[in-house]
C-alpha cells in the first residue's frame, strides 16, 4: 500500500489529486477520516479548509497540515487553500486520506504583496509582476538580481560587469531622473529601503514588482522608480531540511583580438617612419617575435574562476510557532586574477501565534560580504585595469631579467600605465560589507473586521574598505568606514467587511516614520617605510583623515480604500503624504494620490473554451522622488582634502572652500503615470496574457543645472525639466504541454519603452559628466531636449584623407592616411550627438521542461534598440591618450598609399566619434540547467537532485567588445549611470559559467 501510495503521490505532483483518487474504490460507511494536506513538495499545509461537500461540516488543518473529520463513505471532501487548486476527494472506505494540493495553474489566485497588505492576483487593479521562487529555483543563483532578469516584464537588469559582487543595475519601466538615482525601491518583508545584492536568493519566496503609479503610490515619495517587494520564506508543516551545493567554473567567453608582438612591432615601425621617425624594432627583433611571440596581457590578467556556493535551510512548524532558518556561504573567484567575492549569511524567520487574535513575527538577517579588489575602485587614470591589460605592450615581458616586474613598457610603447599584472598582484583592496537586519511584526485582530499591525525594523550596515597597494616606490594604506543605521516604524490599521455579499470593502490606514543615519570615517596613510601590510599603517610618511555625518527622516500618513463589487468590479484608491527632511519647511510635504480600477468580463465568456478569463484595468497616480543628498538645500563651506595646502612642502594645513550653492526652494520630483492593462486567461488558466501600456511624465526634475565655470563651476540643483517614458509590457505564460510524463511551462515577457527629455528648463542641452578617457578632457555624454537620456557626444568620423585630397589635408596639418573628421569652416572638428545608449526593448523567454524525473530550464534574454560607445576599441586602436601605439587587429588593414582603406594610419584618433559607436542589440542564453531528481532512493531522504547548468552560454550580437550589456560606471553611482548608459571604458567581462550542484531534501 505504501508503495502504491508513494507512486500515486508522485504522480500527484504532476496531475493533482483527482487523478490519483481514481484508483480508490468506493465503499459507503460512516467513519472518522484522518489525513494530511501537503503541497507538491510534500510539506504540510496549515490552515487548509476541509469540508464535506454539500454540508457545512468542515475543519481546518493544523500547523502540520493534519486534519480529522467525520464523514461517510459516500461523502466527498472538498480540500481548499488559497493559491491552490481545490480538490474533491471521495471518502470511500478510507480512514486515512492524504491530499496533495497542486498550485493553481491559472495562478489567478496567487497572493500578491501590494505593500501594507496583500491581495489576490485576481483582485489587482494596478500593474504588478510577480516572480516567484518557482520560476528561478532551477537556476543556480548567487545573486537575487539574476532571478529578476528576464522574468518580469518591464524590469530590466543590466550587469555593470562580470566582477563578483559588482553592482547590478535594475530599472523598472525606463529611467525618470537625470541626476537622481533611478533604482527601484526595495521593500523586504515590509521594511523599506532594502538591498537586493545582499540577499540570499534561496531565502526568497516571491518578489512582487509594482510598476505603475497606482501600485507604487502606496510608497509615495519613494515609489517613482517602481517598487520590488521581497517576501522571504516561512516555515510550514513538519520539519524539513534543504541542502543545496554547487560549484561554478567561470571564464571569459571570448578574448578580444589584439595584435601579436610581431605585427605590433611592424605597425609601430610604420607608425614612426610615416612621420619621419626611425624604426624602433630591428628586423631581427621582429623575426624573434614571429617565432617566440610576445606577452598577451589580456590572457595574463584573466583566469578560470572557481566558485562554491553552499546553502542549508531548516524550516517547519511546531504547534503555534513556525520557523525558517537558513545559512548561505558563497566563495567566488573572479575571472580576473586576484579578484573575488565571499559572502556568509544567516536568516531566521520565526512566527508565533500567541492566541486567536495576536500573532508576532521576527525576521533576522545577518550577512558579511567581502569583495576582493573591486576593479571599479582600482581605476586610476584613463580606463580600467582591463583596458590597461588590453592595451599593454606585447613586446615587454611581465618580468625583467632579474625577476622583477617590468613596471612600464621598456620602450614606452602602447599603454603608458604601470604593468597591470603587477598592479593586480600587488593590490589588496577588501570591501567588507556587514549587515544586520531585524524586524518585528505584531498583528492584533481588534475585532473580526479590524486588525492592527505594528511593523518595526532596524538595520545596521557597515561598509569598510581596507586598501593596501603598491604605489611606487612605497606602499599606501587606505581605510574607510561607512556606517549606516536605518529604522522604520509602521502602524497599519486594516478594516475589512463584506456587505450584502456584494460589497467587499477594505480600508487601510498607515502612520509611519523612518530615518537613516550615516557616519563616514576614513584615513589614508601614504608611503609606508617598510612594506609590512595594511595593519602597519603607522609606518606611513604622511596621513590624511576625512569624515562625514548625515541623517535624514521621513514621516508619512497613508490611506487606502479597496472596494470590490460583485466580484467583478474592483477599485483601489490611495493617498499618501510624506514629509522629508531633505526639504525645508514649506516644501517638505508631498501628497501622492492614485486611483485604479479593474473590470472583469468573465461573465461574458460563458462556455468559451479558449478565452476563459478577461479583465480590463486602468490606473492613474502620482509618485515622488526625494532621493537627493542630505543638506542639498544648504550652501556649504567645505573642509576637504582638496583644499589642503602645504606651505612648507611637508606639513599640511587644513583649508576651507565654498562648495555647493544650495537651493532652499527644492522640493519633490513628481512622476505622474497612467496605465491601462488587459488580462486574458486562456484554456482555463493554462495560459495567461497580460498587456499593459503606460505613459509616465516626470516633472520638476531634481536636476543639476550646471553653473558656468566662470562663476565657480559645479551645479545648482533645481526643480526643472521634464522626462517622459512611454511603453508597453507584455507577459504571456502558460503550459505548452501538460501530460503525464511531460510538462513544458513557458513564460515570455517583453517590454518596449521610449524615453524623451521634454524640457531642461529653457536650455536645449546640458553637458554630461562622463569624462573622456583619452586625455583630451572631453565629455562623452549629453542630455538633449527631444532626445532620450544617454546621448553620446562626439565627432563624426569620415574615414581617411586620400592621396587625392593631400592639399586639403595639408591645410589642417594632416596628410593622406590620417583620420578624417567632419570639421567647421575653420577646420576645427565639430561635435554632436552620435548615438544613444538607452535600450528601447528588452525581453525574456523562460522555459521549464519536466520529463519524468528530469527537468530542464532555459532562459533567453534580449535587449535591443541601443548603441554602445566602445571606447575600449578606441583605446586598442590607440595612437591617443595613454595608448600611443596601434594594437587593434583592424590596423593590419590600415591605409597605405597603394591601398587607401578607411582605417587611418595616423592623425588624431577621436575615441568619442562615430568610428566607435556600435549597435548593442543582443540575445543571450542566460541560463540552461538540467536536473535529475531521485525520489526515495535513500531512507530518510525526501529527494535528491543533481543538476548541471551553464550561464551566458552564448551571446548573439554584432557588438565587437566583450559584452554590450555592460555599463562602465559603477551602477550604484547615482545619476551618471543612466545618462551615460552604453559607454564602455573597460567593464569587467561577463563570465561564461558552468555549474554543477546537488540539492537534498530531508
Amino acid at each position: 500500500m505504501k508503495k502504491q501510495f508513494t507512486k500515486l503521490f508522485r504522480i500527484g505532483l504532476f496531475y493533482g489529486l483527482v487523478l490519483a483518487l481514481m484508483s480508490f474504490q468506493e465503499i459507503s460507511a460512516q467513519q472518522t477520516v484522518n489525513g494530511t494536506v501537503v503541497d507538491e513538495a510534500g510539506v504540510g499545509i496549515p490552515g487548509a479548509n476541509v469540508i464535506v461537500k454539500g454540508t457545512t461540516k468542515g475543519t481546518v488543518t493544523d500547523f502540520d497540515g493534519n486534519f480529522s473529520i467525520s464523514a461517510s463513505s459516500s461523502d466527498v471532501l472538498m480540500v481548499s487553500f488559497l493559491g491552490y487548486i481545490t480538490q474533491s476527494v471521495p471518502v470511500g472506505n478510507k480512514t486515512s486520506i492524504n491530499v496533495t494540493l497542486a498550485e493553481d495553474a491559472a495562478q489567478l489566485d496567487e497572493v500578491v504583496v501590494i505593500g501594507y497588505g496583500t491581495a489576490k492576483k485576481s483582485d489587482l487593479t494596478g500593474a504588478v509582476s510577480q516572480v516567484s521562487a518557482k520560476s528561478f529555483e532551477k537556476q543556480p543563483l548567487t545573486r537575487v538580481e539574476d532571478a529578476l532578469g528576464g522574468r518580469a516584464a518591464g524590469v530590466t537588469v543590466a550587469r555593470q560587469g562580470g566582477a563578483p559582487g559588482a553592482a547590478v543595475k535594475v530599472r523598472i519601466r525606463g529611467v525618470n531622473s537625470i541626476n537622481g538615482d533611478n533604482s527601484p525601491l526595495v521593500v523586504i518583508d515590509g521594511i523599506i529601503g532594502g538591498d537586493l545584492s545582499t540577499l540570499n536568493p534561496n531565502d526568497i519566496a516571491s518578489m512582487d514588482v509594482l510598476k505603475d503609479a497606482s501600485a507604487t503610490a502606496i510608497y509615495g515619495s519613494r515609489g517613482s522608480n517602481g517598487v520590488i517587494i521581497v517576501s522571504t520564506k516561512k516555515g510550514r508543516g513538519k520539519a524539513k531540511i534543504d541542502v543545496d551545493y554547487f560549484t561554478t567554473v567561470a571564464s571569459v567567453p571570448e578574448y578580444l583580438p589584439t595584435l601579436g608582438a610581431a605585427d605590433f612591432a611592424r605597425l609601430e615601425n610604420a607608425r614612426r617612419t610615416r612621420v619621419n621617425g626611425t624604426p624602433i624594432f630591428s628586423d631581427g627583433e621582429i623575426e624573434a617575435f614571429d617565432i617566440l611571440g610576445g606577452t598577451n596581457y589580456q590572457r595574463e590578467l584573466f583566469q578560470t574562476g572557481i566558485s562554491n556556493n553552499a546553502q542549508l535551510s531548516v524550516s517547519g512548524s511546531e504547534g503555534n510557532i513556525d520557523y525558517f532558518l537558513s545559512g548561505n556561504y558563497v566563495d567566488q573567484e573572479g575571472i580576473v586574477k586576484n579578484t573575488g567575492y565571499e559572502r556568509y549569511s544567516l536568516r531566521a524567520n520565526i512566527n508565533a501565534k500567541i492566541n486567536e487574535k495576536l500573532k508576532v513575527g521576527l525576521n533576522t538577517f545577518a550577512t558579511r560580504a567581502t569583495i576582493l579588489n573591486d576593479l571599479t575602485t582600482l581605476n586610476r587614470f584613463q580606463g580600467s585595469l582591463i583596458v590597461k591589460a588590453l592595451s599593454w605592450d606585447p613586446t615587454t615581458p611581465i618580468f625583467d631579467q632579474n625577476g622583477n616586474y617590468n613596471r612600464f613598457s621598456t620602450q614606452s610603447l602602447a599603454s603608458l600605465s604601470a604593468n597591470p599584472i603587477e598592479d593586480i598582484n600587488t593590490t589588496n583592496v577588501q570591501g567588507i560589507n556587514d549587515r544586520l537586519n531585524v524586524n518585528v511584526n505584531i498583528s492584533y485582530d481588534i475585532t473580526d473586521n479590524l486588525n492592527y499591525t505594528l511593523l518595526a525594523g532596524v538595520s545596521t550596515i557597515n561598509n569598510d574598505t581596507e586598501t593596501y597597494r603598491l604605489d611606487h616606490p612605497l606602499n599606501d594604506v587606505g581605510f574607510n568606514s561607512a556606517k549606516n543605521t536605518n529604522h522604520q516604524i509602521s502602524n497599519i490599521l486594516t478594516w475589512q467587511k463584506v456587505f450584502n455579499d456584494k460589497h467587499d470593502v477594505k480600508v487601510t490606514g498607515v502612520y509611519e516614520f523612518s530615518g537613516n543615519e550615516s557616519r563616514f570615517n576614513s584615513y589614508g596613510a601614504n608611503n609606508l617605510s617598510i612594506p609590512l601590510g595594511f595593519y602597519f599603517a603607522e609606518l606611513a610618511a604622511a596621513t590624511n583623515i576625512n569624515n562625514a555625518f548625515g541623517n535624514s527622516s521621513i514621516e508619512s500618513v497613508m490611506g487606502r480604500l479597496e472596494y470590490i463589487f460583485n466580484n467583478n468590479f474592483y477599485v483601489t484608491g490611495t493617498f499618501r503624504a510624506d514629509s522629508s527632511s531633505k526639504f525645508r519647511d514649506g516644501n517638505r510635504t508631498g501628497y501622492f494620490p492614485s486611483v485604479s480600477a479593474r473590470y472583469s468580463l468573465n461573465n461574458l465568456l460563458d462556455n468559451n473554451t479558449v478565452f476563459t478569463g478577461l479583465s480590463l484595468r486602468a490606473g492613474w497616480g502620482q509618485v515622488g522622488n526625494q532621493n537627493i543628498a542630505n543638506y542639498s538645500t544648504y550652501p556649504s563651506v567645505e573642509v576637504t582634502n582638496a583644499s589642503r595646502y602645504a606651505f612648507d612642502g611637508a606639513t599640511v594645513s587644513a583649508g576651507s572652500a565654498p562648495g555647493s550653492y544650495g537651493n532652499p526652494d527644492l522640493t519633490w520630483e513628481t512622476t505622474t503615470q497612467t496605465n491601462v492593462g488587459i488580462d486574458i486567461g486562456l484554456f482555463n488558466g493554462r495560459a495567461n496574457l497580460t498587456l499593459d501600456g503606460y505613459v509616465k511624465n516626470t516633472t520638476d526634475l531634481l536636476l543639476d543645472v550646471p553653473v558656468p565655470d566662470t562663476n565657480g563651476g559645479g551645479f545648482i540643483r533645481q526643480n526643472i525639466g521634464e522626462v517622459e517614458n512611454k511603453g508597453i509590457d507584455v507577459t504571456l505564460s502558460g503550459s505548452i504541454i501538460q501530460n503525464e510524463d511531460f510538462v513544458w511551462d513557458s513564460s515570455f515577457n517583453l517590454s518596449y519603452s521610449t524615453n524623451e527629455v521634454l524640457d531642461l528648463g529653457g536650455v536645449d542641452d546640458i553637458q554630461g559628466t562622463f569624462d573622456s578617457v583619452d586625455g583630451k578632457s572631453r565629455t562623452w555624454n549629453r542630455i538633449q531636449v527631444g532626445e532620450p537620456l544617454g546621448q553620446f557626444w562626439g565627432a563624426t568620423f569620415l574615414g581617411t584623407w586620400k592621396t587625392s585630397e593631400a592639399a586639403e589635408a595639408a591645410e589642417l596639418g594632416l596628410m593622406p592616411g590620417d583620420a578624417k573628421y567632419a570639421t567647421d569652416e575653420e577646420g576645427n572638428i565639430t561635435f554632436g550627438a552620435i548615438g544613444n545608449g538607452t535600450p528601447t526593448t528588452s525581453w525574456g523567454f523562460n522555459n521549464t521542461l519536466t520529463y519524468k524525473n528530469w527537468d530542464l530550464n532555459i532562459l533567453f534574454q534580449g535587449v535591443a534598440g541601443f548603441e554602445v560607445l566602445n571606447a575600449v576599441q578606441g583605446i586598442l586602436v590607440g595612437n591617443t591618450g595613454n595608448q600611443r601605439s596601434f594594437l587593434a587587429t583592424e590596423q593590419l588593414n590600415q591605409w597605405t598609399s597603394t591601398n587607401e582603406t578607411n582605417i587611418p594610419a595616423g592623425g588624431e584618433n577621436e575615441i568619442g566619434s562615430t568610428r566607435y559607436v556600435e549597435k548593442g542589440d543582443f540575445v543571450r542564453l542566460s541560463n540552461l540547467s538540467l536536473g535529475y531528481t531521485f525520489n526515495d532512493v535513500i531512507e530518510g531522504v525526501n529527494y535528491l537532485k543533481v543538476y548541471a547548468s551553464g550561464q551566458n552560454l552564448f551571446l548573439i550580437t554584432d557588438y565587437s567588445g566583450y559584452d554590450p550589456e555592460h555599463t562602465s560606471r559603477p551602477a550604484n553611482n547615482a545619476g551618471n549611470v543612466d545618462v551615460a548608459a552604453g559607454i564602455n571604458v573597460g567593464a569587467y567581462p561577463n563570465p561564461r559559467t558552468f555549474s554543477f550542484g546537488v540539492k537534498i531534501g530531508l
Binding site: 614612426r272 612621420v275 621617425g277 626611425t278 620602450q411 614606452s412 603608458l416 492584533y444 481588534i446 475585532t447 479590524l450 492592527y452 502602524n491 502612520y511 523612518s514 530615518g515 589614508g524 601614504n526 610618511a541 604622511a542 590624511n544 562625514a548 555625518f549 541623517n551 527622516s553 521621513i554 522629508s580 527632511s581 531633505k582 517638505r588 538645500t633 556649504s636 563651506v637 567645505e638 573642509v639 582638496a642 583644499s643 595646502y645 602645504a646 606651505f647 612642502g649 611637508a650 599640511v652 587644513a654 583649508g655 576651507s656 572652500a657 565654498p658 550653492y661 558656468p708 565655470d709 566662470t710 562663476n711 563651476g713 586625455g775 578632457s777 572631453r778 572638428i829 595612437n879 595613454n882
Partner: protein, 504 residues
C-alpha cells in the same frame, strides 16, 4: 451606538492613541548642516575661519597649477614643443598656433582658476566688516587673498586676453568679458591692495615666499606694468612704472628675502625647492598627495620611459648660447638627435638634473617658482630702456644675470661678459629669452612685443643631424596665423554655450 459598541471601538482607539503617543514626533525633519556638511556660512566669527579660508584658496591654486595645463599657452613659445603624435593635441594646438575653443586644457584651466577666484571672493565676503584682535595677522591674510586673486586674473589674461572679472561669490550668470584695460586695472588694484596689507616678509615661512610678501606684490606689479605697456593695451607710460616697481623690489630685496642663487645648477634641485630666488613659490608635497605633476617623467622622451609632454624646440636649443646656463637648462648629455620616437632636446628644468627625479616619477615634490628674482632684475633693465631712463643700476641688473649665466660670481663686475652700452631694452629682452627658457614665460614676451611672427617663422633646425647625417625636421609645424588676431586663446566653448555674453 450602544455601550457594547462604544466599548468595542474604544479599545482599538485607545491602543491607537497609545501607539501614537509613543511614536509621534520621533521623526526629526530639520537638517543641521553644521554637524558636518559646512562651516558656518556668512561672516567669520574667529580668525581661524579666515585662516582656513585663505589656505583653501591655496588648495584651489595647487589644484589648478599641479598640471602642465596651467601653463598650456607656454607651448606657443619658440622654446617649448611637445610630442608630435601622442595625446598632446591640446598642447600641439598652442605649439602650432591653432587653438580651438573646445581645447580641453583651456577649459580645465579656466574651471580651476575661477574656482579659486570664487573661493577668494567668498573669503573676502566672510571677513567684511570684521576686525579680529590680531590685526597684523588679519591684514596679511587678507593681503594674500588679494594677491592670489590678482595673480590668477593676471595668469588667465596672459592666455586669453579679455576675461570676465567676477568679484563676488554669488554667480552672475550674465557676466561679460571685461576690456583689457579693465582687466589690468583690476589686477593692479588687487596687487596694490595686497602690497599694502602684506608684511615685508611673511613670518614663519621658508625661503622663496611660499606666502607672498609686499615685495612679491610689487614684483608682480612690475611684471604687470611691463605687459600693460606692450600688446594689446600698449600703454607706454607703464614702462616707467615697471622700472620703478622693479627697482623698488631690488632696493628692498634683502628685506623681502629675495636674491639670486649662486649656481644655476642648484636652482632646479629637489632639495633646493625653497630658495630665495623665488619671488613667489607654489609649494607641493607628494607624500600627502599634494603633487606637482609637471616635471620629471613629463619632460622625458619614451626612450627614457617618459611621457613626452614638455620638450625643447630644436632651433631654440641650437641658438642657445653655449655655457653653464645652457647646461643648467638642458640635459645636454643625452644623444637626443638619435632618440627613437621624437628627436628633441630635453629640458633639465623639466626632467630635473641627472639623478634628481626618478625616471618613473611624475608625482613630484618640485615647487613652482612663479616669478624669479632674475626676472625682476631683467624687468628693471628692459623697462628702464623702454622708458628712456637707463641708469648704471639698470646695466648692473642685466649684468648680474649675464655673469651668472657664464658661471661667474654675479656680484663681481667682469668686463668679459658685462655690457654697458647698446639697446639695453633689447639686450634684456634677449637675455630673458635664454634665462627663462622652458619656464613657460617666453610666449608672454613674444605677445607683448608682437614678436610672434619673427620668432615662430624661424623654427627649422639648422645644424642638428641624426647619426645617419639627416638634418632633423621641425616638430609640430605652424598651422595657424601668426598675426596679432591669433595671439589669444578663445574662451572655452562650453562657457560661451552657458553664457553667450562671454562670446563677445
Amino acid at each position: 451606538m450602544n455601550k457594547k459598541e462604544i466599548l468595542k471601538w474604544l479599545k482599538p482607539t485607545s491602543i491607537l492613541i497609545a501607539f501614537a503617543m509613543v511614536f509621534t514626533g520621533c521623526a526629526d525633519l530639520e537638517e543641521d548642516p553644521t554637524i558636518d556638511y559646512s562651516l558656518a556660512p556668512g561672516t567669520y566669527s574667529q580668525i581661524a575661519e579666515l585662516e582656513l579660508g585663505v589656505t583653501g584658496i591655496y588648495g584651489r591654486l595647487r589644484n589648478a597649477s599641479q598640471w602642465s595645463t596651467f601653463f598650456v599657452h607656454g607651448w606657443a613659445g619658440d622654446d617649448i614643443t611637445t610630442h608630435k603624435v601622442s595625446n598632446k593635441a591640446d598642447f600641439r594646438e598652442f605649439d602650432q598656433r591653432q587653438v580651438s575653443a573646445t581645447n580641453g586644457r583651456i577649459a580645465n584651466n579656466w574651471r580651476d582658476i575661477y574656482a579659486m577666484v570664487r573661493a577668494a571672493n567668498a573669503v573676502l565676503e566672510g571677513i567684511e566688516g570684521v576686525q579680529f584682535t590680531d590685526a597684523d595677522k588679519q591684514d596679511r591674510l587678507i593681503g594674500e587673498i588679494y594677491f592670489l586673486r590678482g595673480a590668477m586674473f593676471f595668469h588667465l589674461t596672459r592666455m586669453h586676453g579679455r576675461i570676465p572679472l567676477p568679484l563676488t561669490s554669488v554667480p552672475d550668470f550674465e557676466i561679460g568679458l571685461a576690456t583689457q584695460e579693465e582687466v589690468y586695472q583690476q589686477i593692479e588694484s588687487d596687487l596694490l591692495q595686497a602690497e599694502i596689507l602684506l608684511p615685508e616678509i611673511y613670518p614663519g615661512v621658508l625661503d622663496g615666499a611660499p606666502r607672498p610678501n609686499s615685495g612679491s606684490a610689487r614684483a608682480f606689479l612690475a611684471r604687470l606694468y611691463l605687459d600693460w605697456a606692450g600688446f594689446p593695451a600698449k600703454d607706454n607710460s607703464k614702462y616707467a612704472l615697471a622700472a620703478s616697481s622693479a627697482k623698488q623690489v631690488i632696493d628692498n630685496a634683502a628685506t623681502h628675502g629675495f636674491g639670486l642663487v649662486e649656481d644655476l645648477e642648484d636652482l632646479w634641485l629637489l632639495n633646493n625647492r625653497f630658495n630665495d630666488e623665488s619671488i613667489w613659490t607654489i609649494a607641493y608635497n607628494a607624500d600627502n598627495n599634494l603633487f606637482n605633476r609637471k616635471y620629471g617623467k613629463l619632460g622625458n622622451p619614451s626612450d627614457l620611459g617618459g611621457w613626452q609632454e614638455t620638450f625643447a624646440e630644436i632651433r631654440f636649443f641650437e641658438d642657445f648660447p653655449e655655457g653653464p646656463r645652457k647646461e643648467a637648462t638642458y640635459r645636454t648629455e643625452h644623444d637626443w638627435e638619435n632618440f627613437t620616437d621624437q628627436q628633441t632636446p630635453v629640458f633639465k628644468k623639466i626632467a630635473g638634473p641627472a639623478g634628481d627625479i626618478p625616471l618613473t616619477d611624475f608625482n613630484t615634490d618640485r615647487n613652482d617658482f612663479i616669478m624669479r628674482y632674475a626676472e625682476v632684475l631683467l624687468i628693471y633693465a628692459e623697462a628702464s630702456g623702454r622708458s628712456g631712463n637707463v641708469t648704471p643700476a639698470a646695466w648692473e641688473a642685466l649684468n648680474k644675470i649675464r655673469r651668472r649665466a657664464e658661471g661667474l660670481p654675479f656680484n663681481t663686475p667682469n668686463p668679459s661678459v658685462d655690457v654697458t652700452s647698446g639697446d639695453i631694452a633689447e639686450l634684456a629682452f634677449t637675455e630673458r629669452k635664454w634665462e627663462f627658457a622652458g619656464e613657460w614665460l617666453r610666449w608672454n614676451d613674444l605677445v607683448r612685443m608682437e614678436r610672434v611672427q619673427d620668432a615662430l617663422s624661424n623654427r627649422n633646425p639648422q645644424s642638428s643631424f641624426n647619426s645617419q647625417g639627416q638634418l632633423l625636421p621641425v616638430q609640430n609645424a605652424i598651422l595657424g596665423s601668426l598675426g596679432t588676431d591669433n595671439y589669444f586663446a578663445p574662451v572655452p566653448a562650453n562657457e560661451v554655450l552657458l553664457n553667450p555674453n562671454l562670446g563677445n
